[in-house]
């Protein structure tokens, strides 16, 4: 549950998500659930020309199982706190 809680602290931040099919989507993290499904608002697809089906989409629900990476704003990640939480096993 640690990363679920962690993502919850990142709501309303701009994140970039890379899917397993190489699509990269930048947007405002609106919500996350226990499966790490992610909801993004005001999305922007990088390399949109390659993915025309994603034009004119304003917000998006991404199934957690297809996410490869989530790129986070460095300033919003408290690595010390995360390390601490990991070692406490919460």
């Amino acid at each position: 549950m640690l990363f679920f809680s962690f993502f919850k602290t990142l709501t309303n931040q701009t994140v970039t998500i890379e899917l397993k099919n190489d699509i990269r989507i930048r947007g405002i993290l609106k919500s996350v659930d226990q499966y790490l499904n992610i909801k993004l608002d005001d999305i922007e697809v990088l390399d949109l020309d390659k993915y025309p089906h994603l034009s004119s989409i304003k917000n998006m629900f991404i199934r957690g199982s297809v996410v490869r990476y989530v790129m986070l704003p460095r300033s919003e990640v408290d690595v010390g706190l995360l390390e601490d939480a990991t070692r406490r096993g919460e």
């Binding site: 602290t9 709501t11 899917l19 397993k20 025309p52 034009s55 989409i57 998006m60 991404i62 199934r63």
Partner: protein, 174 residues
């Protein structure tokens, strides 16, 4: 040092301290709320995420690469979905075509993503693609698919020889 935890709201430690102070003043002292407002936990469920999308026109991308456009009518906690008035949009090269399909019940595991269509911008088709007759697009797509299949196979065989397991072994993702 304060015992901070991701599971607690940032105001919690402060709150607890206030509470102890108040308890020292008297057991019946009311608890005050402090710290930034936190979203209630029920906001962070699959159901809450999909609830906003209900009855909206959506683009659904499936694990096999299909793009379906329809209205979301029902769903459950696994992201199993029911779409109404669905069309399938087939893309190939710089062309696309629409095929009317009707009602879809999609098993959640096949869902890649769901996007809400901005109805104000829905008709702005990107200049990189043009609409074409279904048969033409379908033929082109068949060619593209077989080409990609053989190149994927070649890559995976080479990777496997080097000891790499393909990232999504066996599964094809688009």
């Amino acid at each position: 040092m304060e015992r901070l935890s991701l599971n607690e709201s940032p105001g919690n430690t402060q709150q607890q301290r206030q509470q102890t102070q108040q308890n020292a003043l008297g057991p019946q002292a009311p608890m005050t709320q402090s710290g930034p407002p936190q979203l209630p936990p029920q906001m962070f469920t699959t159901a809450a995420q999909l609830l906003d999308l209900t009855d909206k026109k959506l683009v659904l991308v499936l694990r096999d690469g299909r793009k379906l456009i329809g209205v979301l009518r029902s769903w459950d906690q696994f992201a199993n979905l029911v779409l109404q008035d669905t069309i399938e949009r087939i893309y190939a090269g710089k062309l696309y075509a629409d095929v009317p399909r009707g009602i879809f019940l999609v098993r959640g595991e096949n869902v890649l993503l769901l996007g809400e269509v901005d109805l104000d911008r829905e008709d702005e088709v990107p200049t990189s693609v043009t609409k074409a007759p279904f048969e033409e697009v379908f033929e082109l797509k068949k060619k593209e698919d077989s080409k990609r299949k053989s190149s994927d196979k070649k890559r995976y065989t080479e990777l496997q020889a080097l000891g790499f397991e393909p990232e999504h072994s066996g599964e094809i993702l688009f």
